[in-house]
């Protein structure tokens, strides 16, 4: 085991590995500690979507700039991350929803996101298997540069590239404590040894609360259990991710041909239980076959659970606070950590290396829950 590192990252998901890559590329000596295997948490169970259509300015901007990075990432990392930009189609069900989404579209357009409102006729042109009556749609918003990529392959590609730049990545290694000195982080204790460091990045997903507890910081995050399923492989049927905020459903056809999707579990509870439920399957299959009746003939193969680490405003907690120097928050992604990871790892890297801060970093600081009236992200599914 190594004795010291400039930066210790706790958590080997897409954000931890992405940051390890960005830092090590700039010559920073990085160590990553992952208690299971790489992408074993939220990254590895997620729906793989990349969406720029958000209701809050920060999320939309993070996602838009992330898409620009995703577009070049396979080349940059030397590994295919299977990016497919088939767009996101967001169903609109009534006038009230249309008003909210019109506002979102206006904000997204002002940032330069190529989103538009489309008619029911155009919905069928984008995704021919949809049934307008069944899904009860009056319109949709569509952004053709949204899409999906392979979360495992993205994480592995980041980790492999980080290792080439000298990052030390330890899997099956648990962080058990963090020592501080004069309001600064000083040491990370793991079950395999002790490492001296100036920076600790908490990218531990739903275990972030545990990591914050080690240094006496309270965070308002809750783990929310989610379920998701995959069908058998099919010939290419449609390219877009279809979602609805009202029904909570999302589904898309992945690179290999399987349809992957999820919906909130009817008896949604906070907690760490991981067993999948029959009620999810019934609710999901009913809604999915209502949206796309032809899928009733298709077999469902697998069904699994994952967690959203949800903050009170459904936006991530990023950056350092005054209480403890060198302790960097990188958690609370509330179900959209994968799609904004390229930009999150870039701005945190710039903060650690150059001390550079930004409006986004300021507005997503942990202190927002104390000082400011928080703006809630409305555009959440699953």
């Amino acid at each position: 085991m190594i004795k010291k590192a400039d930066v210790v990252i706790v958590g080997g998901g897409v954000n931890g590995c992405g940051l390890a890559y960005n830092l090590s590329k700039r010559g920073v000596d990085v160590a990553v500690f992952e208690k299971n295997y790489l992408s074993s948490g939220a990254t590895g169970s997620c729906g793989a979507g990349i969406r720029q259509q958000w209701s809050t300015h920060e999320n939309a901007e993070l996602a838009m700039k992330s898409v620009k990075i995703f577009e070049k990432l396979s080349n940059e990392l030397g590994d295919d991350i299977e990016l497919r930009q088939g767009g996101y189609l967001i169903a609109v069900h009534d006038k009230e929803e249309l008003l909210q989404l019109e506002k979102n579209v206006e904000m997204q357009k002002s940032l330069g996101i190529p989103v538009k409102i489309i008619s029911t006729k155009e919905i069928i042109e984008v995704v021919p298997i949809l049934d307008i009556k069944g899904m009860n749609a009056i319109a949709a918003t569509f952004c053709p540069t949204d899409g999906h990529a392979n979360p495992f392959k993205t994480t592995f590609a980041y980790a492999n590239a980080a290792r080439k730049y000298g990052a030390n990545i330890f899997t099956h290694t648990t962080v058990t404590d963090i020592k501080t000195k004069n309001k600064k982080v000083s040491e990370v204790i793991t079950d395999k040894g002790i490492i001296k460091t100036d920076f600790v990045v908490n990218a531990a997903g739903i275990s972030s609360e545990e990591i914050c507890d080690m240094v006496g910081i309270k965070i308002p995050t809750k783990p929310v259990r989610k379920e998701i399923m995959a069908t058998e492989r099919l010939q290419p049927l449609f390219k877009a991710m279809v979602i609805s905020f009202k029904d909570g459903i999302y589904f898309s056809q992945q690179h290999e041909g399987q349809i992957v999707g999820g919906i909130p579990i009817p008896e949604q509870k906070y907690g760490y239980k991981t067993a999948p439920t029959v009620s999810f399957l019934q609710h999901m299959s009913k809604t999915l076959t209502r949206y796309a009746p032809v899928l009733k003939h298709i077999n469902m193969l697998r069904h699994w659970t994952g967690f959203y680490d949800v903050t009170p405003d459904a936006r991530p907690i990023l950056g350092e606070t005054k209480d403890l120097k060198g302790f960097i928050h990188c958690h609370g992604f509330s179900g959209h950590g994968f799609m904004i990871s390229p930009m999150v790892s870039k701005i945190l890297c710039e903060y650690i290396v150059e001390g550079k801060t930004s409006d986004i970093l300021e507005s997503l600081s942990l202190t927002r829950f104390k000082d400011k009236k928080i703006e809630h992200e409305m555009a959440v599914v699953g």
Partner: protein, 90 residues
């Protein structure tokens, strides 16, 4: 039989060579191999391949891979059509 022709995972059409190459590249965890190669993500849910991959991994790394570290089988045990799942008939 050559490594290119020995099929390890029939659902995802993976050969012994594919698995050994992934292990050589550094994927030495069964779960990481599964996520990299899609072993066990097909209709058989790993019933055919997991134990084979476990043995290949043990042979390549010289380390014991305990049975309990095999990836969890995810429900349903056999594929079920969405139409059946969506129907209220018992």
């Amino acid at each position: 039989m050559g490594k290119k022709k020995t099929i390890v995972c029939r659902c995802e059409d993976l050969t012994l060579e594919d698995v050994e190459n992934a292990i050589d590249t550094g994927y030495t965890d069964l779960e990481e191999l599964r996520k990299k190669l899609r072993i066990g993500m097909g209709p058989c849910q790993g019933r055919v391949c997991f134990q084979l991959v476990q043995k290949i991994l043990e042979k390549k790394t010289g380390k014991k891979v305990p049975i309990k570290s095999l990836p969890k089988v995810r429900p349903p045990i056999i594929p079920v059509s969405l139409g059946t799942l969506a129907s209220d008939e018992k």
